[in-house]
Symmetry: C2
DNA sequence: TAGATTGTTAATCGATTAACAATC
DNA sequence: TAGATTGTTAATCGATTAACAATC
């Protein structure tokens, strides 16, 4: 893996393998093979091998991979075994959905504080996470050295809040708003958007209806 | 466009162009060019041209494209100008977030009914959308000829509900659960998942911290 | 041993980018 | 006219798939 650039497409496929492997583990299966993963998930077997190799795991010819090692290998590669503290800004419906999601611990994310401007929400707690007024963001960020920001505000507030996040010391923003953030080059921005997926769905439905 | 296969990557980029064009329209801009879109959105200008051509719109050399025509062209191509009635099953946090989203009308989706099994929720209305008991799904689907299903249940219920959706006459499922649905080949399934995006984010953060 | 698997190298395929002619 | 743009064809690049040697 040293020096070899990991393609984003490979990174995006890894969680899918992990999910299937976790299902196998739950069923008590100890070993599996790239060929089997390939069959079940409809991914070409050579691609499964290449993707897994990117994470640095090694299999045993004729035997396959230990499920446990494979899960660990993927999680270590994605750094999901280390917890990153995160701030969430914007306690609307999406923000609330994320705050109530209990699975983040297993993927290396811990939301340590949420922020909003609505006085009816600030001061409350959502599933152990305290909600502060937005004005506390910069101070708290600098004190806690939080590096990840989850942006779930309204589109109109997104850019301003993103700038504040950066001032608070955040280096990576998981952006759930449809806004293209304009920030310094070295800030990591990862956008989550439902429209690309809807475009594919709509187009396929339209084709289906045409026939 | 006839006979030319549209790549999924092109489909997924179209909403991005549309969003920028809508911003231009709001600002009163009448004309734009592939070159300008390219600059602003950081997409290669040839790629913008190819993507737009896939939708069938034609520009005017030296002038560019009428913003209004471009928006219309993209929306017609994606069939977002026609409304598809949709059912939503699973009124948890994500389901609620989607039910409260007011922008679906503009992208061809109308959620006409929601379903859940929790008696505290069934019988209520969320932003005009009535919530029924899940047992009503098949009957209502057959009466209303609803074709799109939005799946926002718990993972454990996902497969069963998906099967019920198909029995109710649904041909396309927008799947917000992490479950790989096993359905007949001709059912359109489009998965929305935050993990691929988180994998990219985590990996980049890990690389950043290493330096 | 034969079969099943890994892992690597080569070939193919498709998407992106470059080059350029056409034009209002 | 010169410049800016569209739209097309060719070249490049990168991702996927095929072929195959190595091995427990």
């Amino acid at each position: 893996m040293q020096g070899v650039k990991i393609s984003e497409l490979t990174l995006r496929r890894l969680p899918k393998y992990r999910q299937y492997l976790i299902k196998l583990r739950k069923e008590g299966v100890e070993y599996t093979s790239a060929s089997e993963i390939s069959r079940v998930l409809d991914v070409h077997h050579t691609q499964v091998r290449k993707d897994l190799q990117a994470t640095g795991v090694r299999g045993i010819p004729k035997v396959g991979h230990r499920v446990e090692d494979l899960i660990k290998g993927i999680e270590e590669f994605l750094n999901w075994n280390n917890t990153s503290d995160a701030f969430l800004v914007g306690v609307g419906h999406i923000g609330r959905a994320l705050l109530n999601y209990e699975g983040f611990g297993r993927v290396g994310i811990k939301i340590v504080a949420a922020f909003d401007i609505n006085p009816e929400i600030t001061g409350t707690t959502i599933l152990e996470t305290p909600v502060f007024d937005l004005s506390k963001l910069i101070d708290l960020g600098n004190r806690l050295h939080t590096r990840v920001g989850i942006l779930t505000t309204s589109p109109s507030a997104a850019q301003d809040v993103a700038v504040k996040m950066v001032e608070a010391g955040i280096i990576a923003i998981w952006n759930f708003t449809p806004v293209k953030l304009e920030l310094s080059e070295n800030i990591i921005v990862e956008n989550v958007n439902i429209y690309p997926s809807l475009a594919v769905l709509s187009h396929r439905v339209a084709e289906y209806l045409k026939k």
